[in-house]
Each structure stands twice: as C-alpha cells, then as structure tokens.
C-alpha cells in the first residue's frame, strides 16, 4: 500500500468569491462552503467563521478538529463511509492542507451547557499550550434547535460531525489545481528482517452505547468492535474518524481527528523504517467501559502484536481514569509476550502536582512519555474580543483555585480544558517533570 501525500502550506485564510489556494492563502467562498455542509433535521443550519493565529478569539466547545484532506487519485473516497463511499483508502494520492483545520462547535442553546469544556484561544496564555492555536481555522458552528437538542443531544453531534468532515474534504478538493509545496510517499516497503518490528497501538475511547466516539470506515466501533490491524496510511486517509461527543469534559487528552491524521509517532516510525526498525502496522484498540470488555480487547491487541512478531510498541491512549486500566492491561499482556512497550500518557497530578498521575499502574510498566500534568492551573483572560460557539459552556472551564490570578480580568482554568494541551498522541511538546 503506497500513499503519495501532497501538501500545501496554508499561511492565510480569507473569505472570497471562489474557494481556491494561491500564494499560501486559502480563500473560501462562504456560501458554497455552507451549501456543502448540507441540511440536517437536528439543527437549524450552520454558520462559518475564520479564526487566525493571533486573533483575540475563543472557540468553545470544541467538538472535533480535522485537517482538510481529500483524495486526488481517481475514484478514491474521502472519509470513507461518512463523506465518500466505502472503499479502500491508504493508497493512491492525497492532498493535505497543512497549517489549517476545520473546527466543529455548536451554539444557540444557553440552557444546555455542552459539557465538552474544551476551548481554543487563538492568542494569549492558553495559545502557548495549544497546537491548534497556531493553525488557520475554519470553524463550523451548528445552530441548535433547543427543543430538539434537549430531546436528543446526539442529533446535533451527528449533524456537525458529518458536515464538518464534508467541509474538510471540500476545502482540499478546491485546492487540487495548486502546485503542491511538498510531496512525500508513505509505504511499508520491504525491510531487513533482522531489524526489530514495531507497532503503533491506538487506544480510543469507546463509551458506547451512551457516547458515540470513533468510527472505522463509517461504522461506529462501539463495544462489540474487536481490536484490529490497520495500515498506518489508513489513519492518514480518514478511515478512522474520531469525534468528541457532548460529555467528555476533560478535553486536553483526547485524540482529536487532527492528531490521528498527524500522529508524530507514526511519522517517526516511518522515518526510521528500514533504518533501525521495521514498522509493522497499527493496532486499533477500543477502550470499552466494562472490565470484561477491557480484558477481551487487550487479549486481541497483544495477540495481534505477537502474531506480527513485534518486538516493540508505542501505545497511545485517550482520556484517563478507566482507560488507564486498558493501558495497564495492554502493557502487562504485551510485555508478557515479549513486546516491549512505551506508553504516552498525561498525568492527573492535582493542582499542586503531588497526586499520582494515573489511576492504576503495573510493575511491567517501566517506560512512559509524559505529556503533562493536566491539572496544572493556567490564568486566562475572562473574555476575548470574539467568542465562537456557546457562551454558556464557559462556566465549565473555571477552576476553583482558592485564589484569583494576579492579572486583572483573568481567571484560572486548568490545562484539561485547553484543547489538545496534553495530547496523548504526543503531538505537543509539554511534559511533566519532578520538581
């Protein structure tokens, strides 16, 4: 499976007559883009906004972040099973708009506080911790119909998820004529069999039936899904789509779809493939909510790694608390069948950094990359000039710190509300250390 990834570097985003890419600027025809989103019975339409790095803009709640990508090889689908047909992806040619993202949010129902407390500030202190603050963002805001929303909160999520993915594919499609800034080929070519084989294990939350978390080729993975083998190119090509539903307060450590498309460990495994390792593939693991389910999933994940002959695994996770149990089961089972593990996890160290970081630990777990203490306090401005999304969700991001920040007009939040600040895909540079 060979994938040619062409990229354009987006250095500006503007509204204009026609959606196209020129001289680094992505111009968007607002009306056409809105039409692409489609109509859904669960929402009263959508609004689109542009947020640029450095703007005094806050976006809340953040439901999904996706890098605009589309297939440019004939007949291949975008986000198969959701936007395009169910066909194999991971091969052919793909165009990605680097430096840009589509962000999904909602508005209009002040009575219903979306508990997804995640926010993005395009400038100010929180921007230092947020990878997405450095991107040019097209924000799609779903307008809730309060009566519908209260009966069926999932309806809005379903609408904005599909519309947002359509938008992401549309933006890239309209830039196909531009000469790419870079082209890179991803292929697991034959490598020296004496090199150690490694796998990337992507553990994703599966809180089904109450929350609809992640999809594989358009199918909600859910609790009945068994961990399976994927080609890394499939992750880059939209085969796995993740959505942050309405009930995940702690958003700092989610795997936004952007992180799955751009996993730095996958990139690094590719860079070293054939040099000092053999990249064998990706194991997609569902973190279900029952202990029996966790045990079952872990058996499959460790068995697949062992059958592939893997000597090592980088294991990334989503959320914390009960998913820490998935990590520890996997570490134990993998190490016992000879697969050396490194986990990437955040820490829930408390505001003062004194609490143990994970809910559980096993002696076999001896290698962890820390992506930060998500409880650390951060003083941020009460208001930015522009708020995109639902103002009522702001109540959720206020931390009770027992004191007020020194700066006037600031309040304390915790990093766990800053979208992606402790991304467990390891996309950021934050890490907790002993002091």
């Amino acid at each position: 499976m060979k994938l040619e990834m062409q990229t354009l570097d987006v250095k500006g985003m503007e509204w204009g007559e026609k959606t196209h890419f020129k001289n680094g600027v992505l111009t968007i025809d607002r009306e056409e883009a809105l039409a692409v989103c489609g109509d859904f019975p669960g929402v009263d339409g959508f609004a689109l906004h542009i947020a640029r790095p450095g703007d005094r803009t806050r976006i809340i709640p953040v439901k999904c972040i996706v890098e605009p990508r589309c297939k440019t090889s004939d007949g291949d689908p975008d986000f198969p099973g959701i936007v395009g047909e169910i066909k194999q992806v991971g091969h052919g040619r793909t165009l990605a708009l680097k430096g840009a993202a589509v962000v999904m949010t909602e508005t209009n129902d002040p009575e219903t506080v979306c508990k997804t407390g995640g926010f993005i500030d395009m400038s100010g202190p929180a921007a230092d911790y947020c990878v997405y603050s450095k991107l040019f963002l097209l924000v799609i805001e779903a307008k809730a119909i309060p009566s519908v929303h209260r009966e069926d909160p999932q309806a809005l999520d379903d609408a904005v998820r599909v519309a947002g993915l359509r938008l992401a594919a549309y933006l890239a499609k309209k830039c196909m004529d531009a000469a790419p800034d870079a082209t890179k080929t991803y292929e697991l070519s034959e490598a020296d069999p004496s090199l150690p084989g490694v796998v990337y294990i992507l553990q994703l939350l599966t809180q089904h039936p109450l929350v609809e978390d992640f999809y594989v080729y358009g199918q909600l993975a859910g609790e009945h899904f068994m961990p399976t083998l994927m080609h890394p190119n499939e992750l880059m090509d939209g085969a796995v789509t993740n959505f942050i539903g309405a009930h995940c307060t702690v958003c700092s450590d989610k795997q936004y779809l952007y992180d799955i498309q751009n996993s730095p460990a996958v990139e690094e495994f590719y860079a070293r493939h054939g040099r000092d390792l053999r990249f064998l593939g990706v194991i997609l693991h569902n973190e279900v909510v029952t202990l029996e389910g966790k045990m079952r999933s872990s058996l499959f994940t460790s068995k697949i790694a062992a059958m592939l002959g893997a000597k090592g695994a980088v294991m990334v996770t989503e959320g914390h608390g009960n998913p820490d149990e998935d990590i520890m089961l996997n570490v134990r089972n993998l190490e016992r069948c000879g697969v050396r593990t490194v986990i990437i996890s955040d820490e829930l160290g408390g505001v003062d950094g004194r609490s143990p970081g994970l809910a559980d630990w096993v002696p076999e777990c001896d290698a962890m990359v820390s992506v930060g203490n998500t409880h650390e306090l951060l003083a941020i401005p009460e208001r930015m000039d522009t708020l995109i999304g639902n103002e009522s969700s702001l109540s959720i991001i206020r931390a009770s710190a027992g004191e007020e920040p020194k700066e006037a007009g600031y309040f304390y939040t915790q990093l766990n509300h800053v979208a992606g600040s402790c991304s467990q895909a390891g996309i950021g540079n934050l890490s907790a250390r002993w002091i």
């Binding site: 702690v250 914390h320 050396r340 390891g426 250390r433």
Partner: protein, 348 residues
C-alpha cells in the same frame, strides 16, 4: 539592598569540636564561619551571610524544642531571605537537624532552605518535600562541589528566577510534578525511548508510579435488618444550584446533603453536575444515582434498619487520586461518627 542568608552548621563544621562537643548548646553568631565563609564568597554579588546558627548534633537531637527556640530568635533578629543548612552529606543527626531547621523556617517564617545531602542520607526521604536538598558526595571531601552546587541554586532563588526540573537544578525532587516545554514532541520521544528499550540500551522513563494498594472487600453486614445504610456517589448529584460549587471534573471537594423526610429524590431538586456522562437520565430521575426510593421501600419493609439521612457526592471524572483518598477518608469518618453500618457507593 543585598539579600540576607542565615547559615546553619553543627559543632564540627563550626570549628567548635568533634563528637566530644556534640552537646554544644545552640547559639547564633553574626557573620559567617566555617563553610559559610565560602558561601559568602560565592554569593558575594547577591547576598550576605548575616549570621550563623550553631548547634551540637546531640543537643539538637535531644533538645529539639530548645534548639529551635534559639533558632526562632535568630530568625527574628536577622530576618534572612534564605537559610543554607549544612551541607550535612551522609550524616544522620546533622541531616535531621538541617531538616528540622528547614521545616521551622518554612512553616513559621515562610523562608526557604537549601541543604546538601548525599543520596544515602536518611534525612533525604524525610525532608525532601520541605526544602531544597542539593545532592552532594557522601563526606566533607565533597565540600567544594557541594558549596558550588548549593550556591548556584541559592543564587537562582535569591534572584527569583524560575527553576527548571529538580534533575537539572541538582536537588532531590520534592515529590511534585510540574509542566515544562521540550524541543521534541511526545511522539518522537516515545519512539526514541522505545528503540533504546528494544535494543537493551539504558533509557529514562519520564514518569514512574508506585503500584497502587489494592483494597480488600469488607466482610458482609451481619444483620441488614438492624443496619443503618448510607448512600454515596461519584455521579455529581447535588441540590439544584450546586451550593458547594463542586466542579464538573477534577473535583476538589465533596458535598453532604440532607434527604431527611424525603420519600425519594425529586427531579429538578437534585441534579447532576458531573461532566463525564450524559446526565439526561440522572436529571430526569436522580434516584438512578442516589437510590433513595428503593432504600425507603426496604426501610418500610424492615429489610434494612434505616437510611442514613445524608448522602455524600463528588464528581469522579478527572479527579486526582490524592483528592479521592482524602474525600474517602473524610466521608468514612463522618459515617463512623454517625454510626452507619454500611454504605452503597454508586460510581458513574
């Protein structure tokens, strides 16, 4: 105005005498002496060693209160910005004395202390959270390096500079975690660490945790018909308006709420503030998380003795383990005082 340092040394380093003088009574002398002279020299641009507090090791160990009261007077007289204690290297009694001085300076005067100890010093584990203990060699032969390392850290504290990690600053960490930004992203660091581990090369995990203690199940209640039963939950069930302002995630508190005289919890009166699950169903019927309705039935039928009239709530999602433990201990104590026999813990 230069900052002020108070230096603490034992009888030996003060030049008073060896083990035979270990009962030497505490005193404060103006200016520096012993290793303090070198400290003063190394920190000449930033601070002055205004006084030296001297105490014999045995005296300190056997008359701690008296020693510390003399120390208090020195603190009040000289008003130092920083204490330098030792270095005490591997020494046991001297190390403990340095630790106790540090605790006193921090707790009573809000003044930080820098000590210097070797990794084997028994005082390290006991006092590492209370002071900066710079890692030194194990004897006075390591004095030169120890004083350099201690004064390097002292200089940063005196200048109010932001410290890097304990490892980079050269002190034994204080059991606290803090965030830092690194050159390489987490994914790249993970692959680097993995390949070292796979190849059998040394690697340093960025975090390790003790395996948590497993809690054994309590024995069954002997006779439910005589038992008082309490209801607890981590589902964030609180009176509407959330009077205690319990956070929707990473909770820092729990609440205790009366249900006296209530046959069941009414929708709209008790609501969920939990941020990690869809609270539509618990808000529609709060008894789904706090099953008072069923418990009242059992109470009426005589199958349980009675319902404890207070329910206890916090939000489980994103909470720190230490907070959780503290809530658990407090609630258990409250239940014990109220002579509750058993509790139903509803987790979400």
């Amino acid at each position: 105005m230069p900052k002020k340092i108070l230096h603490y040394v034992n009888q030996f380093f003060a030049g008073v005498g060896g083990e035979d003088m270990a009962d030497y009574k505490p005193e404060a002398r103006a200016g520096s002496l012993g290793p303090g002279a070198q400290i003063a020299k190394l920190l000449a641009d930033d601070a002055e060693v205004v006084a030296t507090f001297i105490c014999g090791d045995n005296f300190f160990a056997t008359h701690q209160a008296e020693a510390l009261s003399v120390f208090d007077k020195a603190m009040e007289e000289y008003k130092p910005d920083l204490i330098v204690a030792g270095p005490s290297f591997y020494a046991g009694r001297y190390g403990f004395a340095c630790g106790h001085v540090a605790v006193r300076a921090a707790e009573r005067f809000g003044v930080p202390t820098i000590g210097g100890m070797s990794v084997e010093s028994p005082a390290v584990e006991m006092f590492r959270e209370k002071m900066f203990i710079v890692e030194t060699g194990d004897s006075a032969r390591a004095m030169k390096h120890a004083l350099e390392d201690m004064t390097n850290l002292a200089r940063k504290l005196l200048r109010g500079e932001t410290l890097r990690t304990a490892a980079e600053e050269g002190y034994f960490h204080r059991n606290r975690r803090k965030n830092f930004l690194y050159e390489e992203n987490g994914g790249k660091r993970a692959v680097d660490m993995l390949m070292r581990k796979v190849k059998g090369e040394p690697f340093v995990s960025e975090y390790l945790q003790a395996v948590p203690e497993k809690v054994a199940a309590a024995p069954a209640v002997a006779d439910l018909r005589k038992a008082t039963i309490a209801l607890l939950n981590t589902g964030g069930m609180v009176p509407a308006g959330n009077p205690d302002r319990i956070e929707g995630s990473a909770a820092t508190k729990f609440g205790a709420y009366s249900m006296e005289g209530m046959p069941r919890l009414e929708s709209g009166v008790i609501v969920s503030v939990h941020g990690g699950y869809d609270s539509t169903f618990s808000d529609a019927d709060p008894n789904r998380i706090v099953p008072l309705d069923v418990l009242r039935e059992l109470e009426r039928e005589g199958r349980i003795g009675k319902v404890h009239e207070i329910f206890y709530s916090t939000v489980g999602t994103g909470a720190s383990l230490l907070n959780g433990q503290a809530f658990g201990k407090s609630i258990a104590e409250m239940l014990q005082n109220a002579e509750v026999d058993a509790a139903i813990m509803v987790s979400t």
